[in-house]
């Protein structure tokens, strides 16, 4: 069954993208990554720690199985995000980026104006751009028109674990999308990921839901199954909801 996730020139069998932040240690992270079946992992770009320069995250990512997707988390302007994306490429990471420009510190809601400005520059420079944005059809359309290879609307605020707060908005985004839509942020537990996929999302990106679970490895496995279940359910075509019952066993031949 060929059902690959295609983002620009990148192709994956798994529709789950998983983060590398907030894990108790890199060993647990690596095991969780394996259990998740994910083929894409997100990373952040930061000043190097001189006190412990040899303990590098890259040593704990299996580059044969995983493609590293750098993010621009922590950026508040287009310029900062562009600079971060360029530096990530200089490190030797693939030339693509989870483009994130934050507009509010408390809610970590995206600044779409700045994100769009950065997207246009990076697309021109040949980056495959995946902007993080609101679950808003207008924002998503603008990114698509700006050349984004995929658009990543939020399910709920980053790290909040609140699930898909507005399924209708995601549905509307999906109906009108010409590029893959990846629900990014808000996924707290397996059913949240399934709901996103049942709505027709092309993928799910999550970090905290796995990293901060009591058993991250087990939760990673749950997320893998949840994404696969949701995808299969979406492709199967669910039955319509009805007001009244409809017997599953034949009425004829019942004992009198």
């Amino acid at each position: 069954m060929d059902d690959k996730l295609k983002i620009g020139k990148f192709e994956f069998n798994s529709r789950l993208i998983i983060g590398t932040g907030k894990y108790a240690d890199f060993g647990i992270m690596k095991k969780a990554h394996e259990a998740s079946g994910a083929e894409v992992v997100t990373v952040a770009i930061r000043r190097i720690n001189f006190d412990n320069p040899k303990e590098n995250l890259l040593n704990f990512i299996d580059k044969n199985k995983m493609t590293i997707l750098p993010n621009t988390a922590g950026c508040y302007t287009a310029e900062e995000a562009i600079r971060t994306a360029r530096l990530a490429a200089e490190i030797g990471l693939p030339k693509w980026v989870k483009l994130e420009v934050i507009g509010d510190q408390k809610t970590l809601m995206p600044d779409n104006e700045e994100t769009l400005r950065a997207a246009k520059v990076l697309v021109k420079e040949g980056f495959t751009v995946l902007p993080y944005t609101n679950d808003d059809i207008v924002a998503c359309k603008k990114f698509e028109e700006a050349g984004a290879a995929a658009v990543m609307p939020l399910g709920a605020p980053i790290g909040s674990g609140q699930g898909i707060l507005n399924p209708n908005n995601i549905r509307i985004v999906l109906e009108n999308a010409k590029v893959p839509i990846i629900v990014d942020a808000g996924v707290g537990t397996a059913s949240d990921a399934t709901i996103a996929m049942e709505l027709g999302a092309d993928g799910v990106l999550l970090n905290t839901g796995v990293a901060l679970a009591k058993d991250p490895v087990r939760m990673a496995r749950a997320m893998k199954l949840a994404v696969e279940s949701g995808r299969d359910a979406f492709l199967s075509g669910r039955i319509p909801k009805k007001m009244y019952a409809s017997a599953s066993s034949p009425i004829e031949g019942t004992l009198k």
């Binding site: 952040a44 995250l57 530096l87 490190i91 030797g92 970090n207």
Partner: protein
């Protein structure tokens, strides 16, 4: 000479970026370097000369979502 690396002043003697990374015990394969806000490409690490009061950013990959 005095270099400002990742916002902190350091007193170091080194001719170029390669030497600097070596002195800081950093693996050049996992970093990117900015010198006075301009990116220094990896292949130029050995050629780009450093001067007193240069400002450098040395970044790498860390955990994120």
């Amino acid at each position: 000479m005095k270099l400002i690396i990742n916002g902190k002043e350091k007193e170091l003697e080194c001719d170029n970026v390669s030497e600097l990374l070596d002195k800081l015990n950093l693996n050049p394969d996992v970093v990117a370097v900015e010198l006075n806000k301009n990116i220094v490409h990896r292949q130029e690490f050995g050629n780009i000369k450093l001067n007193d009061k240069d400002r450098l950013e040395v970044v790498t990959v860390v955990g994120g979502g």
